[in-house]
Symmetry: C2
Subunit: 231 residues, 2 copies
Amino acid sequence: MTKSNTSVVASLRKLISEGRYPPGERIAELHVAEHLGVSRTPVRLAFRTLEQEGLLQRAGKRGYQVREFTETDVLCALEVRGVLEGLAARRLAEQGLTEDVRTCLAKCIEDGHELLAKGYLEREDVTRWSEINETFHVTIVESTGSLVIADAIGRNNHLPFASADSIIIDTEALDREYRKLYFAQLQHQTVFQALCHGESARAEMLMREHAYIGMRYGELLNLDPNGASAT
Amino acid sequence: MTKSNTSVVASLRKLISEGRYPPGERIAELHVAEHLGVSRTPVRLAFRTLEQEGLLQRAGKRGYQVREFTETDVLCALEVRGVLEGLAARRLAEQGLTEDVRTCLAKCIEDGHELLAKGYLEREDVTRWSEINETFHVTIVESTGSLVIADAIGRNNHLPFASADSIIIDTEALDREYRKLYFAQLQHQTVFQALCHGESARAEMLMREHAYIGMRYGELLNLDPNGASAT
DNA sequence: AAGCTTAACTTTGGATCCAATAACGACAAA
DNA sequence: TTTGTCGTTATTGGATCCAAAGTTAAGCTT
C-alpha cells in the first residue's frame, strides 16, 4: 500500500480523534503500523509530529500515550486561538488593508451576522463558522508578510478539533466558548469595517471599547514601570 | 557514538542557530548524519520535529531547507509569546494564587525592577531576563491545571532564540521588542501583586488601565453584536 | 506462602538496505 | 548555438534488521 507519511499523520490523527485510541492509553508503533498497513518507520515519524502537535506525549521513558485532555484544556485551546487571531487582526489593521482583504472581510462579516442571527450554534454551524474562519485566516496570512503568527495559529489548531470529539465534554460550555471566539472575531471585523470606510477615529474608539487585544501593547514603551506599579 | 534522538534535535538546532546551516539553504539528511556521527534515521526524526517547530520547511517536494526569518518574523514571535503569556497570566489571576506562586512572583518582580533600573538591556541581561521568565513560566505551568497554554508558549519559544543569532537583525529593534515584552510581563506581575494583597478592586482597575489582554474576553457574551457594530 | 532473582518476551531506537523520484548533466538534433 | 531528450546520480521515503532496555512472569529460595 505504502501510504505517504503525511497521510499516516492524518490517519493517525483521525483514529485518535475518533477514540479508536482512547486518551491516556499507551500507543504502540507496531500496532498502528499493522493497523494502517505500513512499516514502523512512517509511524515513528508520525509520532514525532503528533507529539509536537500535543496529541501524543511521552509515557515515561517508554513509548507514547494518547494525551488526555480535560474540558478546560479544550476551552483553553480555543481561547489561545482567539487571542492569537486577535493579534493577527491587530497587525493586519496596523499594516493597512488591500482591496482583496476588504472584500473578503465584507463577505465574512455578512456571513457572520447571518450565522449569528440564529440563537444557538448547531454542530454544522460550527463547521460553517470554521470555514468562514478559514477564509479569514488565509486572508490574514496572505496579507501579513510574516508567517510566524499564522504558524502559531496553525500549530494550535489541531488540538481543539481533534480532541473535542474524543472526550466527553459539556457541549454547552463548548458552544459558549465557540460563541465567545466568534464574537471576538466579529469585533475584529467590526474594527476592520470601520477602517475600510476610512473612519479611523471610530476604529480606534472601537478598539478601546473592546479592550482590543494587544492594542496598547505598542504603547508600553511610554509607560513608566514604577508609575505603572504605583498608579 | 549513538546519540539519543533528543540530543540530535538539540545539536541540529544549535548548528542552525550558529549559522552552520545558513537560512534558505537546503539541508541534506546524509550530511547532517555524517556531521553528527549518527545514522540517517534519527536525523529524519529530528527534521520532523524541527519542521513542526518552524525552524525547517519543506523545499518543494524534495527535502527540507532552513527557514529564513525576517526581522519582523522574530519580532512577531516575541509578540506572540507576550500575548500568550498575558493569557496565561489572566487565567492564573482568575484561578487565585497559591502561596508558592505569591513568593515566586514577589521574587520575579524584585529581580525585574532591578533589571529594569539599568537603562539598556545588555545581551547578558536578556539571558537573565530569560531565566526570570523561565521561573515565571514554570510557576504558571504548575499552578494552571491545564498545560495547553504552557505548550503553546513552549512551541513558540524556540523560534526567536534560535533564529535571533543566525540572522542579521537590528539589535536596537530587538532590544525594543524585548523591553516591550518585559514591560508587559511587569504589568501582569503588578496585577498579581495587587491580587496578592487582596486589593481586587485595584487589580481590576489596573487590568482596565492596561487594557489587560483578554480581560473582557469573558464578558463578550453579554455584548450585543449589532450594538457593538453600531456603537 | 511470599519475595526475590532470572529469563523470556515485548517494544523502542538506531542502522542498513532497497525502491522511487527529482535533480543534474551530457549528448544529439535542429 | 540552443534545445530537447535520455541516462546517470543524488537524495529522500519505506522496510527490515539488530541492539538495548524494560516488562512480565515463572521458578526458586527462604
